[in-house]
Symmetry: C2
Subunit: 455 residues, 2 copies
Amino acid sequence: MSRIPYKIYLSEEELPRQWYNVRADMKTDHAPILNPGTLKPVTEEELSGIFCEELARQELNTKDRFIDIPEEVQDFYKMYRPSPLVRAYCLEKELDTPAHIYYKFEGSNTSGSHKLNSAVAQAYYAKKQGLTGLTTETGAGQWGTALSMACAYFGLDLKVYMVKNSAEKKPYRKAVMETYGAQVIPSPSDTTEVGRKILQEMPDTTGSLGCAISEAVEVAVTTPNTRYVLGSVLNQVLLHQSIIGLETKIAAEKYDIFPDILIGCAGGGSNLGGLMSAYMTDRLAGKKSPYFIAVEPASCPTLTRGKFAYDFCDTGKVTPLAKMYTLGSGFIPSGIHAGGLRYHGMSPILSQLYHDGFLDEARAVKQTECFEAAVRFARTEGILPAPESSHAIKVAVDEALKCRERGEKKTIIFGLSGTGYFDMMAFQEYINDELVDYVPSDEELEQGFKGIPQL
Amino acid sequence: MSRIPYKIYLSEEELPRQWYNVRADMKTDHAPILNPGTLKPVTEEELSGIFCEELARQELNTKDRFIDIPEEVQDFYKMYRPSPLVRAYCLEKELDTPAHIYYKFEGSNTSGSHKLNSAVAQAYYAKKQGLTGLTTETGAGQWGTALSMACAYFGLDLKVYMVKNSAEKKPYRKAVMETYGAQVIPSPSDTTEVGRKILQEMPDTTGSLGCAISEAVEVAVTTPNTRYVLGSVLNQVLLHQSIIGLETKIAAEKYDIFPDILIGCAGGGSNLGGLMSAYMTDRLAGKKSPYFIAVEPASCPTLTRGKFAYDFCDTGKVTPLAKMYTLGSGFIPSGIHAGGLRYHGMSPILSQLYHDGFLDEARAVKQTECFEAAVRFARTEGILPAPESSHAIKVAVDEALKCRERGEKKTIIFGLSGTGYFDMMAFQEYINDELVDYVPSDEELEQGFKGIPQL
């Protein structure tokens, strides 16, 4: 075996040409998504009122293991993919560990994260269907940025409802989206019925993801030739994000690398679901596979302390119901800086895999621990990670230190899903020792669980 | 010839192991740098009071065409290099041009620019000499960030004097440097004699690069085991940045690509000097070579409207004198957003090459034109460029459109020296139509020229 380089790149020819649909291999399919009005499984036709037709089809596809990546999407991918699988030689040295640490780096595109992988696909299908515009919501801003880039490329109008609090605290995230031609509307706004209603009831609200979703959906269904898109949780998103794991496995196998442990942060599940895709195939087929760890914030402990139940995907209760791990759609996570992980629910696919023991472990970590790991990583490996990705770093470091204690030479791969360039306020607070941790009490969680509907 | 991929990456084995010292090949060496006290050529010993010994040697080296890149620096390079040579297929399509456009992308490391190439080298030599700290100044913040990363990696203390105006307008740039452990001091400050003097005379000043240099130099020469470092203009910096051009040429030749035109933005000259290095070898040897274009801001037209004369490298007149194109060390460029190009002088090497006709052309462009090209580029190629790099994009687009008019299939390579993620205020102003252009009048320039010393 030749020496492993710092960065393993695939050639353009080696880029996967199909996404992998893990659902086709699952022993138990996730429970069907329900129409919130009828409480019956949603149909493709119903979904097509909100989503593009092809995306509605993908959402419900349980049969096709592989789905062709359209050539136009492949062409866009080639502008920023393959992403490198990086050997963290310097971090290993810093930790003095016998473990081999790798990370799949998804942050070297302008959106700053893996979100672009699905944004491009969703914008492409919208264009192909003859739509002229899309709407979405964004919290931390990574999804909104990714979709802005994709819509600029395919020539689609885009309205992004950005949680007001975020829009005010991250004016430069807003500016990036506007540079790509998107219209960014702080939510709640007076541009929708639901927004006006909320403003009337709570004039001083700083907004929430739930409200932003409701506004975006309202505009999508009331504007001609327009649909709504979402950057996580959905099956279609996990499908598109499978490119991460497929590339990872091809790159690893070129150098006979087999991960003993695979680690990813999990908010809605798009990053971890993507990263573990190609290895989950093996697990589901009973073959040798890594030990999978999902990392979530202790302040929003969906997998570790949530309930596995049917719940709404949004606070406004306008979306379909999914069976998933949830803290209750009314649960408002504290204002931690990993905004991308502040979601009350979890991808139905990941939830089912976790419930069935195929996703081995979920671990909740505190944000100060994550920032500590993030700074250590930045100073040794160069890259300043996103607060979200830092959750995976924290657990990778912990596992590598365990290897040191036990003298084990394990191979660890974690997902470095993005960069923190637009999160410097958070790093500043960490450096100034102003960051606090928050762990909800059992009573608080019980309060949230009360909001889960009894079906 | 096989189809050219979107991105050409070199393998780790193909990475250059030596820097190229263009000075050894120059027909006419640049005039010697003068000690400001004696007005005699500075000696290595004199320079070693300010710079590390090895860097002082490199600064004066006229003989060695190639200088080994230390293994420790190569190891750091491997974390973020090689940088890709990208075929701008989408931009070509958008411009409907028969030209082939390529860009060498130096922005995919956390510092966001090519500056890291020299920062790592300078920090390494400081560490090797047994120094414990470095000082520097930063304006736009790219150099300060790069050096912070390098100092964190090698375990060196770093004090960055950041122009007060920038520190206030770019708090997140400051936060990045602090995250990497640097101490960032808005300049002028009360931490130095020269700073206190300036504050006494002009208590409301927002600072200038000249003042920040003076403070950084004062601290370096009065603190034990500490030296001063600079991110552009110097010969040593162009030497380290030659890695850009060396990689470019190796990547291009793998696919039989020969650039007819090579374009780079030029402030102090580090980026363009680096990019054209390997092709300038051929020019100086009388072989076939590209047409070299330096692009500078119309508001700071050093090459296009400056004088070729001995001048101070800083406003405070504490640094040695160099013969270069200059607008006068007292010239204060208007507050354009390409802070990295707001320098009154130019690398002595580039100045001499331009004077002798080896650097073919300098072109001055207005910032609004650059932002227009930047947004067009971002929306087609994905990457949001730095305002500095946008100068090169603007001219590359112009040349490609010329090719369309004339039906010429020229090959254009330009340097995409960095990303604009920390420059969103500028893009916001552009989007809001609030950006203005400024072109100094002949009278203003004459005023600046009066500050050039008569030797």
